[in-house]
């Protein structure tokens, strides 16, 4: 049995992520916690995030989540970032007039431009619903068909062509939908809300052995 910790820093719905992890890892222990020691000692950690990035990163700094995440990066604990949890790992976001994020990786979070769909109707923002992800080679995609659809809800997204990108999505423009580097993997979409493909991704995460 392993212990999977979901970092609770007061932002959003952690119940869904916890239930989805319990569903794919019925023999593991899933905990939702803000306790730095518990998180540091967990076998795997999930960094969720919803809402505005200024509030999210603000709460992370307030509660020392930035330091915990640095520690996890250092010690090689498999870490999954979801939605704003992924965005927070990059350097900077254009949201809220410009916010410095945790800066684990280089990269900018940009406002989705919208534009027109194929019929000439304006694309709605937020980008809300099921869109396809073009995958690059990574174990997190194991048993998930390339171009499978995942559930997105966001108005800002990571710039395209990041060196650490393992998946991209197109909504008027192309953006980075998933990143990975060493023991870290993160998705803009919500695997916990993405039915079969999302549950498979979570199942892959709970067995993932990152290369050192």
């Amino acid at each position: 049995m392993q212990r999977i910790a979901i970092i609770d820093y007061g932002m959003g719905n952690l119940h869904s992520a916890a239930k989805a992890l319990e569903h794919v890892a019925p023999n593991d222990e899933v905990i939702v916690t803000s306790d730095a020691v518990m998180i540091g000692a967990a076998d795997r950690v999930v960094l969720p995030g919803v809402g505005a990035i200024r509030d999210c990163v603000g709460e992370m700094r307030q509660q020392g989540v930035d330091k915990i995440v640095s520690q996890l990066v250092e010690q090689g604990t498999p870490l999954l970032g979801i939605c704003v949890g992924m965005q927070a790992m990059l350097q900077h976001s254009q949201e809220n007039g410009g916010v410095d994020a945790l800066g684990i990786f280089n990269g900018e979070i940009q406002r989705l431009k919208g534009g027109l769909d194929e019929s000439g109707n304006p694309l709605k923002i937020p980008h809300m619903g099921w869109n396809q992800v073009a995958q690059a080679e990574h174990p997190i995609w194991h048993n998930i068909d390339n171009h499978s659809r995942f559930y997105f809800v966001h108005s800002f997204a990571a710039q395209p062509n990041l060196p650490i990108s393992i998946g991209h999505c197109t909504y008027g423009e192309t953006f980075t939908a998933a990143i990975a580097h060493k023991n870290i993997v993160a998705t803009q979409f919500h695997p916990e809300k993405s039915h079969t493909a999302g549950l498979q991704l979570l199942a892959n995460f709970v067995t993932w052995q990152p290369e050192a």
């Binding site: 719905n13 769909d117 709605k124 937020p126 809300k193």
Partner: protein, 253 residues
């Protein structure tokens, strides 16, 4: 290829039981919202909307408990609406496992509540439900109390105002069409969808699969909501998706 249009089955729930009737032959308890939601989750629905029509405030605990059980079995987005009046209501629902909450009459009585909720929880989880009736050519008015009370508010202007306050999505129900099975009010749907830049869910009036397709193709809706055509097994979610895809609409199949 790109973003798929969504099909959203809607459950009306009173005192923890699905009402308006669900007739599936192969589930144990067709009145249990969790069983019904799980059935739709397995059938390929893109989201579930859960409308709590419980009249009394004391029954809110039942709702919270139902949402909690549902979130443990449903791995697609879950919107919960009905009686959402305070930020505390929203927090309780989100903590129980709802992904979005739908605000209806509370927005009419106090529009600032929508702004406060969006500020606090993020626009991504704030849906504003609009119940509209046609009052003149190309003019629709918001009604409350199940369509009995006019408010004098223009539905299209209201949708734009709600977007401005931070709503992330509009759930648009035609009170004229609801339950009639003649299709969505296409003119209303298109007027609202074209006026806002946030997604619009068309609701009220679906009687057949072409109505769903028309909501997207003619009404420019981003998602279509239906209850009875799915509940009574007239059509399955996958039949609906196949039909919409055959009409050239991008769907998650």
């Amino acid at each position: 290829m790109g973003l798929a249009k969504r099909i959203i089955p809607c459950l009306d729930v009173e005192d923890g039981r699905v009402v308006k009737g669900v007739q599936f032959v192969d589930i144990r308890d067709a009145g249990d919202p969790v069983e019904v939601a799980k059935r739709y989750n397995d059938a390929g629905a893109d989201e579930i909307t859960f409308l709590d029509i419980t009249a009394s405030h004391q029954e809110r605990d039942t709702t919270i408990e139902t949402v909690r059980r549902m979130a443990a079995e449903v791995f697609i987005p879950l919107t919960v609406g009905g009686g959402v009046r305070t930020c505390e209501d929203i927090r309780n629902l989100l903590n129980a496992g709802a992904d979005k909450v739908s605000i209806n009459s509370a927005a009419v009585f106090n529009p600032e509540f929508v702004g406060e909720a969006a500020d606090r929880f993020g626009s991504q989880c704030i849906v504003v439900a609009i119940d509209a009736k046609q009052v003149a050519d190309n003019k629709w008015e918001i009604f409350t109390h199940g369509g009995r009370k006019p408010t004098g508010i223009d539905a299209v202007e209201w949708a734009v105002k709600m977007q401005g306050l931070g709503a992330g999505e509009i759930l648009l129900t035609s009170m004229d069409q609801d339950g009639v099975k003649n299709g969505f009010d296409i003119a209303l749907t298109r007027a609202v969808s074209n006026a806002v830049s946030i997604p619009v869910i068309a609701s009220g009036g679906v009687g057949n699969l072409q109505h769903l397709a028309d909501g997207v193709l003619e009404g420019h809706a981003d998602a279509v909501l239906a209850a009875s055509i799915f509940h009574f097994g007239e059509y399955s979610v996958s039949e609906a998706k196949a039909h919409m895809a055959a009409c050239g609409i991008e769907m998650r199949l």
